[in-house]
């Protein structure tokens, strides 16, 4: 059996290979067959809902009502449903609003997160542990429950039905990002700060010129993890931005259920349009997404 599995690290390559070989010989052909069978079943379970949706998206209205869901469309080049979804389904506004919110809240999250991490990791001050504790406890509060009271704050600030509501909530509640920065900053030697300080740099300069550039890999991780979360977020825009022209991709797609309720071929096309950016991002950033989630999810 020639394996195509890439070694995850050169140092452990030999050990792992010999371990795998011995497992294959121990497990025998039946176990190997079962293993691949289970993998193919899993692949089918993942792909069938996606593929049937993709097929429906290419069908004409008449074709959709006369053919079954497992039958492929007569033409894979019928993009009418995608055009309908994009123009009449407010998907353009959705993508524009999502992009604006994504960019602003990412920039904000990065600035806030790096500043917090810098202050907490590089300074000894009274109340430091208390601050860390406040951030830590906040990770335990499920955001969906507190919306009952957060709503009053957003309306009180006059932000209801503005993009700022989503932007501020995405920026202000991302404690995971702070932890990613904090973990990464611990690995940056303090002697760099001290050297800069001897050269006469003040703390703000050290933060902006020394620390921030060195945090680039952590920033990339936060951009990926946070970017996916913001792109997929449904509830906050649904609750705070109900205006028709403030739809983000989640809420625009959610509103398909009304006008296109019976036109499943258009709903399917809209859904595929939302999935495509995710697929592209995944194909290009696979490795970063895996490692980002591993460091981000285990807060």
């Amino acid at each position: 059996m020639s394996s195509m599995a890439p070694p995850s690290g050169r140092r452990i390559r030999h050990g792992k290979a010999s371990f795998r070989r011995s497992l294959a010989s121990a497990a025998g052909p039946i176990a190997t067959a079962l293993k691949y069978a289970s993998l193919f079943v899993a692949t089918a379970v993942v792909l069938i809902p996606l593929m049937t949706l993709l097929m429906a998206a290419f069908k004409t209205r008449e074709e959709y009502s006369t053919t079954g869901p497992l039958e492929p469309p007569s033409s894979w080049f019928n993009f009418d449903n995608f055009v309908t979804a994009f123009t009449r389904g407010n998907m353009i506004e959705g993508f524009i609003n999502t992009s604006i919110i994504l960019v602003v809240s990412l920039v904000g999250t990065i600035i806030i997160g790096t500043m917090t991490a810098y202050a907490v990791d590089r300074f000894e001050f009274r109340g430091r542990r208390l601050i860390l504790g406040l951030f830590l406890v906040a990770t335990l509060v499920p955001a969906v429950t507190t919306q009952v009271a957060t709503f009053q704050i957003i309306t009180g600030l006059g932000l209801f039905n503005t993009r700022w509501s989503a932007i501020l909530l995405f920026m202000g509640t991302d404690i995971i990002a702070i932890y990613i920065f904090l973990q990464f900053m611990k690995a940056i030697p303090k002697s760099l700060d001290e050297a800069a300080m001897i050269d006469g740099a003040n703390r703000l300069t050290i933060y902006a010129r020394v620390i921030f550039p060195l945090l680039r890999p952590a920033i990339a991780t936060v951009v990926i993890v946070k970017g996916i979360a913001v792109y997929n977020e449904f509830y906050i825009p649904f609750l705070y931005m109900p205006a028709q022209d403030l739809g983000v991709i989640s809420t625009s797609l959610f509103r398909f259920q009304g006008p296109f309720g019976s036109q499943w071929e258009v709903v399917a096309a809209g859904t595929i349009l939302v999935i495509i950016p995710t697929l592209v991002a995944f194909l290009f950033l696979q490795r970063h997404i895996y490692s980002g989630l591993t460091s981000g999810a285990v807060k």
Partner: protein
């Protein structure tokens, strides 16, 4: 000079040699971290601690969300939650998701284990199993509405094996929660899988070599090397799965809107607050859920004491 020295005095380590200018430098140095923390702390307080505090306050009132006055009602809202069966019974819906979460963890552990061994198309399988986790929740909801709808994909699939009178997967209350819980497994399994796979791959290979020399079987390697090596992450995932199952919201909200006995505690809370304008009662419900989640997290720290603390 004298005034400056005077103001420096309350400092914790007053040095008698401190001159006026050095005193000023010290003071600004001490304020610096707080300048960096000003905005982050402001956000933390405004969007986490103020809402939680307000929520507790509202929960003891009969507030409708608009009225100028908030009438205190004592523990009435809490009594209502635990005595009115239609409110508390939705907690039972969590059991479907709880069981589904255990299935999800078991599947994730299985696929992580077999893919940590030599496998053809390993990266392809890894990507396919993981990909659903990245998808937009609304897209997943609509996709599975299409999958489960009458004459939809699932009906066509079961017709292939001869079932021509399939049930209404989402319309029949005795089945709908299973369908939704399975959708949830489809969505979230990939995350657990990737976390487990990462943990398995970080186990030092020397352990496997030693096991090989001792002639260990594949099962023994799993039981005595892999399982202890990933205990921490499995424990954490289990806690997250439990609190996730209790606060299920998106999938049932998007797919059924809570109809056909699929409503969850969070959907009820949201409807109570924003549809029925009973902010007081809804706040009490949210406080109950918050307490449960905090208790589970606390229990996790008791059961798995190490880890996490490295940041402080």
């Amino acid at each position: 000079m004298a005034a400056l020295r005077e103001r420096c005095r309350p400092a914790p380590q007053p040095s008698p040699r401190v001159s006026g200018s050095r005193g000023t430098a010290r003071r600004s140095w001490r304020a610096t971290p707080w300048l960096f923390l000003l905005v982050p702390l402001g956000f933390l307080v405004l969007f986490t601690y103020v809402p939680v505090t307000n929520m507790v306050w509202y929960s003891f009132t009969s507030w409708d969300g608009l009225d100028q006055t908030k009438d205190p009602v004592g523990f009435d809202n809490y009594v209502k939650i635990f005595t009115e069966p239609e409110i508390f019974s939705v907690f039972l819906v969590s059991i479907y998701y709880l069981v589904a979460a255990l299935i999800q963890l078991a599947l994730a552990l299985y696929f992580a284990t077999i893919l940590s061994f030599r496998t053809r198309f390993r990266n392809l399988f890894k990507g396919v199993v993981f990909f659903p986790y990245l998808l937009n929740g609304v897209a997943i909801g609509l996709m599975f509405l299409y999958f489960f709808r009458p004459d939809g994909t699932l009906d066509a699939l079961v017709a292939l094996v001869g079932v021509n009178d399939p049930p209404h997967w989402l319309g029949d209350p005795s089945i709908a929660n299973y369908a939704l819980a399975m959708t949830s497994v489809w969505r979230f399994m990939g995350l657990n899988f990737v976390l487990f796979l990462g943990a398995i791959q970080s186990i030092p290979s020397e352990l496997y070599e030693a096991a090989d020399m001792d002639g260990a079987t594949a099962w023994q390697k799993f039981r005595y090397i892999i399982l202890p090596g990933i205990k921490q992450i499995v424990g954490l995932s289990m806690i997250l799965a439990i609190s996730g199952a209790l606060s299920v919201f998106e999938i049932p909200f998007i797919m059924t809107g809570g109809a056909n006995e699929t409503s969850t505690f969070v959907i009820e809370t949201i409807n109570t607050a924003f549809t029925f304008s009973q902010v007081g009662l809804a706040s009490a419900m949210a406080v109950v859920l918050l307490c449960i989640v905090l208790f589970i997290s606390w229990a996790q720290r008791m059961i798995f004491p190490e880890g996490k603390s490295d940041l402080v």
